[in-house]
Amino acid sequence: MSTKRVITYAEAINEALREEMKADPNVILLGEDIGAYGGVFKVTKGLLDEFGSDRVIDTPISETGFTGAGIGAAMTGMKPVVEIMWVDFTLVAMDQILNQAAKMTYMSGGQTKVPLVIRTQGGGGRGNAAQHSQSLETMFAHVPGLKVVVPSTPYDAKGLLKSSIREECPVIFIEHKMLYNQKGEVPSEEYFIPLGQADIKREGKDVTIVSLSRMVHFCLDAARELQNEGIEAEVIDLRTLVPLDLELVKKSVQKTHRLVIVHEATRSYGWGAEVAARIQEEAFDELDAPVLRVGAEDVPIPYNLNLEKEMLPQVRDIVDAARNALYLSV
């Protein structure tokens, strides 16, 4: 019998970490301020007390150092979950992530597995400015060897993180800072969500809207507005960029014949372009309108909250795009 509880996204991630640490003594956490402080977003709260400082390790401010150490530990039998406080800070450890972790198994002819999870958080909406608000998921998805998870709900975050920790390859797990306090139903029983399965967050027949992370919620709000006009939008949450579940998107497009892609990342060269390209390659005849993209303006993210709102996609932009895809005057 499944018991549903309502917990936050941060609590759901915390539970996933706790359960996996209990299940496997080789699962260890390392990162900045994750111990006594419990993480700047309180995701690792209580874990130091429960598992001790050998398994919940506060590191020096040294992303290359502790990411590299995590890789080395993973190569030799541990299962480290590295927390990089902001996705923007992964950039200082990018050689270790893209050149080392992603390629180690390949370049060793399969000798070495790298069962490493890098947990981080991204996204705007909090006035954290250009170096603390980015959506960089596509950068990781562009490099073979990594899996990329970008969850939007407490339920997904927990089930996907548990699966990520059990992967043999490095997984980049990108949380959203604006979702940590968001609540949702999470069963008390253990469950896993396999990587590579998109999820229909709302069914509809008129237009398909594909998104992930915080934008899924914006899309659901947009869908409610569209419903007032008699438009039934189907909202698909990709949940993972690698592997990408294009089949579900294709199936939806076969039903709606219209596709809008929404990401918080800057529009140009984002993952939206990849989904659009693949859909026109594989389902061109299904389309009754051009595939449309909604993304952030191609500018650094401003500190000013009003300007930030201008720059990031808003519900209004998604509604407009959906109406455009249906050739309704905006």
């Binding site: 080789n26 260890i28 050998d54 398994r55 390790i57 590191t59 020096p60 040294s62 290359t64 150092g65 502790f66 990411t67 590299g68 150490a69 995590g70 890789i71 080395g72 530990a73 993973a74 190569m75 030799t76 039998g77 541990m78 480290p80 050689d95 270790q96 050149n99 080392q100 180690m104 198994t105 390949y106 370049m107 060793s108 002819g109 399969g110 000798q111 070495t112 073979p144 060897g145 899996k147 043999e168 390859c169 590579g196 690698v242 592997p243 990408l244 579940d245 294009l246 089949e247 693949r278």
Partner: protein, 360 residues
């Protein structure tokens, strides 16, 4: 030239092949077999290295990083390790690799561009060579940390060059190893040049070893062309690490006799006199052979026999490596993911259709 090291380094065998006063006890405690083992490995590695350069010139392997001149640093350090220790080598450490158990055929395959050459036999704990600079140092530190958490007895060694000490990875790894008192050995073969840039342009520090003091663990400078001194320094560092006394930075001062790789010309950036001195007066193998002969432990005949034996083994390994059939083109996809994501599966199917177009 190189005076800054000579005042502080550990040296047991002089370039002339004489045991120093501090080295006498160490030398006397070694069995004949141990003494000959240093010689055999250094000779074997030198002959292998020369063969590899020839294979590259003949187009039978790809660009190769020769190690001649650094045999003592590699043999001395690797022989001080045990089976359970982890090795994180750079691209010039195939001498180390063969000592810890990597078969010659694998090493040849690797340089022939065959990824399966990275794979050591079961139980041999050596990682693939790190080609970008210093990236393997944090990995070694992480492995050391893992072994500490699991309460294992193994230590982890990162092999790197002098150029690597300018990279952030080196410093972050040192910091990490120092803070957590990890069983890690940071083994620097300072061969004086990072491709063409001399050590004086790499660092204002007098030595690499002194950098350890900033991280509060021992930094030891050793004559890297003295196999006995390298072995002893490494052995002590490994023992310290095994007993939970933390990391050590070892700077083995040496010289690569040849180019950085077979793709460059070292005469363009190194002074002739300097090269001459290192080749003719400081060679690690010549000084050791001189010592063994003076001690009556090696004859001309035994030397020729061993060289012949080594050459035969090397030729045999080349033959075996070259006889291993190449993998099909779809091997490209073999180790990207345990299970291919759908998009990649599709790319593999597309490749299968044109199988054989580029790949013999």
């Amino acid at each position: 030239m190189f005076n800054q090291w000579e005042s502080e380094w550990v040296q047991y065998i002089t370039p002339e092949g004489e045991i120093t006063p501090t080295g006498e006890k160490v030398w006397d405690e070694k069995s004949t077999e141990e003494k000959l083992r240093f010689y055999r490995w250094m000779t074997f590695i030198r002959l292998f290295d020369r063969k590899m350069v020839v294979l590259q010139r003949q187009g039978r392997i790809g660009t190769y990083a020769p190690l001649e001149g650094q045999e003592a640093a590699q043999v001395g350090s690797a022989l001080a390790l045990k089976q359970e220790d982890w090795v994180f080598p750079s691209y010039r450490d195939h001498g180390v690799a063969m000592i810890v158990g990597m078969p010659l055929t694998q090493i040849i395959l690797y340089w022939a561009g065959r990824v399966e050459g990275c794979k050591p036999p079961e139980g041999v704990r050596i990682m693939p060579p790190a080609v970008p600079i210093a990236t393997q140092i944090p990995h070694a530190v992480g492995a050391a940390w893992g072994s500490k958490l699991r309460k294992e007895n193994s230590v982890a060694v990162a092999y790197f060059g002098d150029g690597a000490t300018s990279e952030g990875d080196f410093h972050e790894a040192c910091n990490f190893a120092g803070v957590f008192q990890l069983p890690a050995i940071l083994f620097c073969q300072n061969n004086g040049y990072a491709i063409s840039v001399p050590f004086t342009r790499q660092s204002a520090s007098k030595t690499v070893a002194q950098k350890a003091s900033a991280y509060n663990f021992p930094g030891i400078c050793v004559d890297g062309n003295d196999v006995l001194a390298v072995f002893e320094v490494m052995k002590q560092a490994v023992e310290r690490a095994r007993q939970g006394e933390g990391p050590t930075l070892i700077e083995a001062v040496t010289y690569r006799k040849g180019a950085h790789t077979t793709a460059d010309d070292a005469t363009r950036y190194r002074p002739f006199d300097e090269v001459e001195e290192w080749i003719n007066k400081r060679d690690p193998l010549i000084r050791y052979i001189t010592l063994l002969k003076n001690e009556g432990l090696l004859t001309e005949q035994e030397e020729r026999d061993w060289e012949e034996n080594a050459k035969q083994k090397i030729e045999q390994a080349v033959k075996e490596a070259e006889a291993i059939p190449p993998k099909p083109s779809t091997h490209l996809f073999a180790h990207v993911y345990a299970k291919l994501p759908p998009a990649l599966e599709k790319q593999k199917e597309e490749l299968l259709k044109k199988e054989g177009t580029y790949h013999a």
